[in-house]
């Protein structure tokens, strides 16, 4: 894949990459920007090369995930589930004009519920429901077997539904 084609693909997938970078960094905006920047750098400079064995999006998400982990290690700010932060911090204080308070609250509830899951469960649910990936593709991004991803998906889905209900009731 030449540079022009890489740029075209990156630009097309950028909004999704941003969401995934946020998820990989515990919704830390600054870290997500750093991780995304470094991931793009790896791709465009050829340090990470797409070999065509998977879908480009899955491969790119794998690069972003790995880079985000590097960033977290580098800054020693790895948080399990982002639970060390107040969930309200996770919501951007200046959301788009069309985002209502009610939606912001619902997002906060979802993030609070996600924080209660294991990192693997959180990742697979994010990849499937946020990015519309199949469990097979999610397994590829996470670097686990399909069976393992499926188990995390099933358990995470039930746990998340229970947690959302709890938060909603409160």
């Amino acid at each position: 894949m030449d540079r022009t084609e890489l740029e075209r693909q990156l630009e097309r997938l950028h909004p999704e990459c941003w969401g995934w970078a946020l998820a990989c960094t515990g919704r830390d905006r600054a870290l997500a920007e750093d991780a995304l920047h470094n991931a793009y750098l790896k791709v465009l400079s050829g340090r990470a090369e797409f070999d065509g064995r998977s879908r480009f999006k899955s491969w790119l998400f794998g690069v972003i995930r790995f880079t985000a982990m590097e960033e977290l290690r580098r800054t020693s700010r790895w948080r399990v589930g982002g639970s060390e932060r107040d969930v309200s911090d996770a919501i951007d204080p200046s959301p788009g004009a069309d985002v209502t308070t009610e939606q912001a609250e619902r997002n906060a509830a979802l993030l609070a519920a996600l924080a209660g899951l294991s990192p693997r469960q959180r990742e697979v649910l994010h990849l499937v429901f946020y990015h519309g990936m199949t469990i097979e593709d999610a397994a590829g991004v996470m670097g686990v077997s399909i069976g393992s991803a499926r188990t995390h998906y099933e358990r995470g889905k039930k746990a998340l539904a229970g947690q959302i209900n709890e938060v909603d009731v409160r």
Binding site: W18, F129, I164
Partner: protein, 133 residues
């Protein structure tokens, strides 16, 4: 799709819309990395050909040393001849204790001036004690 999946899909779609509204542009991310890419490129290009070139140079050096140290055919022949004739030849080497295996009597015996069939017979030498005496 189950009710849970439907609900989760809806919730994640809302989160995604929120995230996308606040996402930095792709151009911003790309331009931020452009300088670093240019800085990395020459290093990478050099690194790509440096490794094979280094391996080839080492291999060539080894071949040159081997050729320089290899003996000529005349030298090889003389070395073989020396080994064949040398006392160092293991096939011609005698153990220093071989003499102990010869009977003491025969060792000390005065060689006969004229050979005789009786030479093999044990003849007591005067003044020499025999083991049986």
């Amino acid at each position: 799709m189950s009710d849970i999946e439907f609900e989760l899909t809806k919730r994640f779609a809302e989160l995604r819309a929120d995230d996308e509204a606040s996402a930095p542009s792709y151009v911003e991310a790309r331009d931020r990395g452009a300088d670093a890419i240019e800085a990395i490129r020459p290093t990478r290009r050099r690194a790509r050909w440096m490794t094979p070139a280094l391996i080839a140079a080492v291999a060539a050096g080894l071949v040159v040393v081997w050729v320089a140290r290899a003996p000529s055919s005349g030298e090889r022949a003389s070395r073989k001849a020396w080994l064949r004739d040398s006392s160092l030849n293991v096939f011609r080497w005698d153990m220093p204790t071989d003499g102990l295996l010869t009977s003491a009597r025969r060792t000390l015996q005065t060689p006969a001036l004229f050979g005789s069939v009786l030479d093999a017979a044990a003849v007591p030498i005067p003044g020499t004690p025999f083991k049986g005496d």
